[in-house]
Each structure stands twice: as C-alpha cells, then as structure tokens.
C-alpha cells in the first residue's frame, strides 16, 4: 500500500501570462502523494483548482511549473490512456453512438484489440446494472442512468488509475447517494487508485480514504483528513457519529474559504489585493 501511484511535486498552474491583469494562479505549489489503491477526494469551494489539478494528473493540462509522475512516468501535458481513465463532470457519452458503441470507441481509442471490446463492455455494463440498455442511445436514458453508464465506460478500460471530475454533480441527492454506494462496492473489488473531485461534503467523507481540503485563489492544499474506514462502505457508515464529525470538520475548514470566495465574487476589486 505504501507504493506511490501518483506523485505531484510543487505543481503550479497559471492561466494567462504572469503579471497580466486577468492572470489567475489556479494552483499554487501543490505537492501530494497518492498511494496505490487509495481513494482520494479533492474537496474545496468552486474555483479552487480541483478540476485543474485533476487535468494536470491526467495529462490534459501541462502544468506551468512542477512535475507530476503517474506510475513512475512523467505526465507532462499528454494523456496516458493505458494508465489513466477519466470520468467527467457531466456525462460525456457521445450522443451519436449507442451505449455499446460508446464503449467500443473508448476501447478503440485506448488501443484495445477489437476481439475484447464487447466482452469488456458488457462486463462493465453488468457491473452497474445497465446491460439491458446496451443498444440504447444516451438521450434515451435518464441523467442518473447516463452517469451510471459513463462511470462504467471509465471502468471498462481497466486502467489502474481513475480520475473522476464531479461525476455526480448533475444528479439529485438520492441518486447521488445510491451511485456513491455502488461506486464504493465496485471499486473495493477492483483495487483501483482513484482521485475524485467533489464539493459535496458527505460524498467526500463517504467515499474517501483521504480527503484533500483545498483553499481557493490561489488553489492550495489546506489540510488532509484521514477517513479510517474499510471499503466497501455500507450506508450505515453515514449514521455513525464519526461520519458527522468528519463532515463537520470538513465544513469548518471550508466555511471561511467559501465566504471569502463569495466575497471575492461580489467585490473582485478589494479581494484582488
């Protein structure tokens, strides 16, 4: 467990040229080690750079400075689809392909031999209980079903690392809970390393081994909270006093951040100083 899957060293990310008036320092000197098989949540107010950090890990953004290694390989602004899979914020199932075709195309892009496509796809769909919808098109499914399939598409490529960018953001709270439970079950079995971006406190506590609490403008790591609870977790975990304590701890850490972010949005002049 001590082996490092993702190693982030002094990563900064700036949008726009330094010194320009609209330049934003999205990430400021972030260092983080993610162990193999660990579930890490990035938690923070909107605009704290959690998604940016995820994109740097996944090789979609090249960091302005610092280095990021994934499975010992330097990730420097180019994706490593054999090691890392993404599940994005909103469902990014391609609407012009049916569900099964969406899986086939993901596997094709990743360079998996054609003979394995359908087996892998059906296996992943079965895991999320969606195998009877293989020939449907994404717009024929509800948002919750779509995100379930989207999750399965990220899993079927069988990478060691899964990066999830607020995958449940578009869902109502009940669906979100159920999908979270399913995710916990699913991932306990696969032993994947997961970095999960969220701004839901309950989601973070329920799913994570460690919660990385971030502050905004510039995005920094404020604290890292350990959640010592074995996976898969049952919904009963949410009823334990420890769950509420952790949740409240996160909230206390974030409250000031959220207030200052909101103040900055109301009055960008004074906060910019």
């Amino acid at each position: 467990m001590s082996e490092s899957a993702i190693s982030i060293r002094n990563v900064s990310q700036r949008y726009g040229d330094a010194g320009a008036p609209d330049s934003v320092l999205a990430l400021d000197d972030i260092s983080l080690e993610v162990r193999k098989g660990e579930f890490v949540c990035l938690l923070g107010p909107s605009g704290c750079g959690k998604s940016t950090l995820l994109n740097v890990i996944g090789g979609l953004f090249k960091p302005t400075s610092g280095m990021c290694h994934v499975a010992g390989r330097l990730v420097d602004g180019s994706p490593h689809p054999d090691k890392i899979a993404f599940v994005f914020q909103e469902s990014t199932l391609f609407p012009w392909y049916s569900i099964i075709e969406n899986f086939r195309i993901a596997l094709k892009f990743q360079g998996i031999p054609q003979s394995e496509w359908d087996d892998r796809a059906m296996q992943a769909l079965k895991a999320v209980g969606m195998s009877s919808f293989a020939s449907h098109y994404p717009d024929q499914l509800s948002v919750g079903m779509r995100q379930r399939v989207n999750m399965a598409r990220g899993i079927c490529v069988e990478t060691d690392i899964l990066l999830m960018d607020e995958p449940f953001a578009a869902l109502d709270e009940q669906t979100r809970m159920v999908l979270g439970e399913d995710l916990s079950q699913l991932l306990a079995a696969t032993g994947k390393t997961i970095v999960f971006v969220t701004h839901s406190l309950a989601e973070a506590v329920f799913l994570s081994d460690r919660i990385v609490v971030m502050s905004a403008r510039p995005g920094k790591i404020k604290t890292i909270i350990d959640v010592n609870e074995a996976h898969p977790r049952s919904p009963d975990f949410m009823l334990e006093p420890r769950f509420s304590e952790l949740r409240n701890e996160c909230y206390a850490l974030l409250r000031d951040e959220i207030r200052s972010t909101m103040a900055a949005q109301r009055d960008p002049q004074s906060a910019g100083a």
Binding site: G58, G59, L60, P79, P81, D82, I84, A85, F86, F88, Q89, E90, T92, F94, W96, Y97, S98, I105, A106, K108, F109, Q110, G111, Y137, V157
Partner: protein, 250 residues
C-alpha cells in the same frame, strides 16, 4: 399517424385543393385570359404531348447533369473550405464574416459575367450554380465544426484518440446534422440557380425550354414544363428530407 399529424396533413392537402380549384374556376369563367393562364386540362394535354418527345428527355438530362455537376463542385469546395477555416480560431473570426457577407450580395447580378467567362453553354450554369450553393454549404460547415462541444474533444483526448480518430469518430458525427442542413440548402439553391440561369440565357435545358415556350406564347406548354419542375422539386425535397432524418436518427 396520430391525430394532430392527420389534422396537419388534411389542412395542407385542402390548401393545395383550394389552389387547384381556384385555378380551374378562374380559367373556366374566363376571368383570367387563357393566354396567360391556360385551363388545367390544356396544361395536362400539353404535358402528355411533351413527355413523349425526345427533346423533353434530352432537356431534362442536360439540366440534371448541370445541377449534379454544380452541386458536386459546391459541396466539395464548401466542405473543404469550411472545415479548413474552423481549424484555427483566427481564421474563423476573419473568414466567416467575409463568406457570410458575400452571401448577402445577390450573385444573380453577376450572371452576365458568368456568361462572359464560361460561355452560353452549360459551363456558365455549372459555375453559377456552384458559386451560389458554395456559400450556404461553407457557412453551415463552419457552424457545424466550430460549435463542437469541447467536452467531447477532451473526453476523446483523455481516452488517447489520435487526430484522425478524433475527426472520424467525434468531429464528423458531431457535425453531421448541421452539415446535412447546409447541403440541403445548398442543393436547392443550386437547383434554383441552374434553372434560373437557363431561363435567362442558355442554349439547352429545362429553363431554356420554359423561356422558349413563353417567347412563342405557348403558355400551355410553358406551364406543363413548370408543373414538371415543381413535381421534381417536391420529390427531391421529400427524398432529401427522408435522407436527412435517417442521418439524424442514426
């Protein structure tokens, strides 16, 4: 067919019936000179005679070939230019307004120039139709490729898609519905400009025959040609729509 669909169709068919009835009534009562608008049965008889002549079919094939050539040129040029323009944001910002600005000019004004450059034969009509149809096809191609949802491109990139794979599986299918709209509009503009061009100045084709019949005051024959063109246009429209719907619904 559900009820509202049935109602829509009934109203549409009734509208056509009223139009035909008005035509019949106006000519029967003599309130419009038969020289300007002949009776329906006179037009029908003229049409019957017309389709039996070899000249009819040769005119039709000349016009269809002209339209096909013009559309093919417009389609290839429009899609290639449109796609290349969307490859950089700067090119889109510079060139898109130029193309849409040029499209607002009535290109009909330049028709005499097409005759001068390409002669009175089919060449000038091909060039004219292709030029006119190029604009909507290029503009819709630009719209189709530049409004691509960034999320899909990012997802494809994260899965390791190469340039060609991204084009083939993401850009192209995403752009296809709008691309099809451009081609449909382009096709009917091409159809109209070739026939219009033939009517104004040419030596052969359907448009030429309509103009010729009008010059000879043979109005029944002229209307027979026009009815033929309308029927062709409606049929083509139905075919194109059916095709487009198939593409849209995968």
């Amino acid at each position: 067919m559900d009820r509202s669909n049935f109602a829509t169709r009934s109203i549409q068919i009734s509208f056509l019936a009223v139009l035909a009835g008005a035509w019949w009534l106006a000519t029967e009562t003599g309130s419009i000179s038969r020289l300007f608008l002949p009776q329906p049965r006179a037009v029908y008889a003229a049409a019957e005679r017309l389709v039996q002549t070899a000249a009819f079919w040769s005119a039709v094939s000349v016009t269809l070939m002209t339209i096909a050539k013009a559309f093919l040129i417009a389609m290839i040029a429009g899609i290639i230019v449109g796609y290349l323009v969307t490859r950089t944001r700067l090119a889109t910002q510079v060139i898109e307004p130029i193309i849409s600005g040029l499209f607002t000019i009535p290109i009909t004004l330049f028709f005499p120039m097409f005759i001068l450059f390409f002669g009175i034969g089919t060449g000038s009509k091909v060039a004219y139709g292709a030029t006119y149809a190029f604009f909507p096809i290029a503009l819709n191609t630009i719209a189709a490729f530049s409004n691509m949802d960034e999320r899909y491109l990012r997802a494809a990139r994260s899965m390791g898609a190469g340039r060609w794979q991204t084009f083939r599986h993401i850009l192209l299918p995403g752009a296809l519905p709008v691309l099809m709209t451009g081609m449909r509009i382009g096709f009917f503009i091409c159809f109209a400009s070739v026939l219009g061009g033939e009517t104004i100045s040419s030596v052969a084709g359907v448009g030429r025959n309509i103009a010729h019949a009008a010059e000879l005051m043979e109005s029944a024959r002229m209307y027979a040609w026009i009815v033929f063109v309308i029927c062709t246009s409606v049929t083509l429209n139905l075919i194109v729509y059916a095709f487009e719907n198939r593409i849209r619904n995968r």
